[in-house]
Amino acid sequence: MFLQQLINGLTLGSIYALIAIGYSLVFGVLQIVNFANGSIYMLGGFLTLVLYNKFRINFLLCFALALIINGFVGFCLDRFALRHLRQKKATKLVGLITTMGFATVIENFVMLFFSNATVPYPNKIDFGSFSIGSAVVSSTQVIIFLVVLVLLLLMSWVVYGTKVGKAMRAVSQNADAAKLMGIDVNGVIAMTFILSAVLAGISGTMVGMYYQMIDFTSGFSIGMKTMAAAVLGGVGSLPGAVTGGLIIGVVESLGASYISSAYRNAFAFAVLIIVILFLPNGLFGKEKVTKV
């Protein structure tokens, strides 16, 4: 039974990981927490569903389209809201609150279409299940693992192996110095938002398929937990975000079954607090070294 719990926890964890990466990326380049990430995750799931139900064409096509729209939404958040704040030299707090406002806008927009019902979601990656000992693993879970793995490798390649990725890392270390290199800092930031929105959208769709339903409140609670995962792993660190996500997922699952289900969220945050007490920068976070 422990194996089953572990598998469930890892599935949950890999979904968290994907969203946590988005938080980490944005925090890295902008030093703010993007509170809209949770609602963008939920939006992605809804967009895929709406497109699929409306147009009845190939699911994969609707999925791709939904991701494009999602990425665009992420882009808009930066381009039309946050960038202006940067130009006006507003404090980080103002940016933070703006992302919260953006989250509310997105949620209410979705509410217009679906009022408040929980809507069924077609599971397009259901190809049966198999057993490992006493544990049952569904194909959906396997596919989610693989997708997250592939995306992680892809993101790592982008961040550590491409010029754009180097620019992103430069901006996260010192935005002004990056400007002096001739790097288009605003462009890099926009790219980061698009990437994190696409990742969140993929997550939202996969979660919809996994649980075979979706509702518009799903953004909020997952937003908090994945933020915790990003902090746990060390904000700004890609492997940190993934590790953090997996840990939170597993702890939540095990805690829910072996201790108490009603307090499952508490366990996730308890782990976060414990880790931060001993490692203030998270598991993979680095101390900021500044020398005159």
Binding site: N8, A117, S129, V136, T217, E252, S260, A262
Partner: protein
């Protein structure tokens, strides 16, 4: 924006109702309906004819009842998270009032319906309650959705001398909060005892039950009642754990344990999407095909079938409200009154008829019929007339009556799911 719109709509409705009142109420009537005499005797004292609701006989002593007040106030959630239920109430209220007015109203006078938006918010509902009890034209309140709003405003109505008929408040303490309070839903205790009896009748001696319950007052209550009653009947509780309704999406942690214990029944107390999630995820985890899934009346909706209809087979879902589907509410299964109600509702409104509408219709119709009988000037007399009303044909149950003064009792409806449709279970 939506809130503003609904306030404007409500305001417009109220204004047009008041305007109608002043000019003799011509706009409201489509067919000028004189008082109709029911078939057979005009007397309805202890009457046992199964006449259709709304076309009941005119009161015995005409002219002796006081119908000075003709307004019913209905605070319901038109906006906010419970707006879908508010809509069901609104439809039922309007339909009942229209039918009642067409059958003669209150001594020829038309009943006015004032619908207000409480947004399912306690503060808003409290404000409305305080306004309503000061309104000299209101003789009863039919409304409030949900225990939190209902329990918060009940004392206000009680101390304000205003009868409150609450269609779906099943909170234990509601009836005893005052003698002007009338729930149409049975309390959880009454309901769950009935559910336990029904489930036991279907599964037999030694049957093992696993309970998953939401951390709401209702869920906690259901769990404690079942945990006590089930062994008393002769069954065994093998597992009991809670979840946070709406927030907990992943039940796999709990279900893994449940499945390992090999229960005969898995009972989920929560919203329809919680029950659906449990069913879907249990099947994914390879639960035995023999396991019976059970859940409350909140499941009797198309949304539930949409979510898990093809996986919900081998279940017994019990509630105090029927599943308003055309293939379920048939003349073979239920009374003509129920069938007609559902047909009228579905023909009039775009939203599908459901238990909330049914309960609400019963609530207001019973109130109006009782008012016709005893007048609208004495709140206590009105409530007494409601709870002792004989011969009321309910649209939401086979048998509705009150015990211990104002505790509602209804016959249970039990369904299974076959080929993605509900089917009545005979036991």
């Amino acid at each position: 924006m939506k809130k503003l719109l609904s306030v404007l709509v409500a305001l417009t409705m109220v204004l047009s109702l008041m305007a109608g009142c002043g000019s003799g109420g011509d706009e409201k009537k489509e067919t000028s309906a004189p008082k109709q005499e029911a078939d057979g005797s005009a007397s309805d004292q202890g009457g046992s004819e199964k006449a259709d609701a709304g076309t009941e006989a005119a009161p015995q002593e005409e002219g002796s009842q006081n119908y000075d007040k003709v307004k019913i106030a209905s605070p319901i959630p038109l906006t906010g998270p419970n707006s879908q239920y508010g809509m069901a109430y609104k439809n039922a209220l309007e339909m009942a009032v229209k039918q009642f007015n067409e059958s003669g109203g209150l001594g020829g006078k038309e009943v006015e319906l004032e619908i207000l938006d409480d947004q399912s918010d306690v503060t808003q509902a409290t404000n409305l309650a305080n306004q309503i009890i000061d309104d000299k034209d209101v003789f009863a309140v039919v409304g409030t959705f949900g225990s939190s709003v209902g329990m918060a405003t009940a004392p206000i109505y009680q101390s304000g001398g205003m009868p409150l008929i609450a269609p779906n408040i099943s909170h234990q303490d509601f009836p005893q909060t005052g003698d002007l309070l009338v729930p149409i839903s049975p309390t959880a205790t009454i309901e769950i005892n009935g559910v336990a009896d029904t489930l036991f009748a279907c599964t037999g001696e030694g049957s093992k039950m696993a309970i998953l319950y939401a951390t709401t007052d209702l869920g906690v209550n259901v769990n404690s009642i079942l945990t006590e009653k089930w062994p008393e009947l002769g069954g065994e509780i093998v597992y009991s754990n809670s979840f946070v309704s709406g927030e907990t999406k992943d039940f796999s942690a709990l279900l893994t344990e449940v499945i390992a214990l090999e229960p005969d029944i898995i009972y989920t107390s929560g919203e329809y999407y919680d029950v659906a999630s449990v069913i879907l995820q249990a099947r994914q985890l390879g639960v035995s095909e023999d396991v019976i899934f059970s859940g409350p009346g909140q499941c009797f909706t198309q949304e539930f079938l949409d979510l898990c209809g093809d996986q919900a087979y081998n279940g017994i879902y019990c509630g105090t409200l029927p599943a308003y589907f055309e293939d379920v509410i048939t003349k073979e299964n239920y009374s003509d009154t129920m069938v007609n109600f559902m047909t009228d509702y579905n023909n009039t409104y775009s939203e599908a008829c459901n238990g909330f509408a049914g309960n609400c219709y019963d609530g207001i119709m019973l109130t109006l019929l009782a008012a016709r009988k005893v007048g609208t000037d004495d709140p206590k007399a009105l409530v007494e007339a409601i709870v002792s009303y004989e011969g009321y044909e309910s649209v939401s149950t086979e048998h509705l009556f009150f015990s211990d003064y104002n505790y509602a009792n209804k016959s249970l409806c039990a369904y299974t799911v076959k080929d993605g449709h509900f089917a009545k279970v005979e036991y």
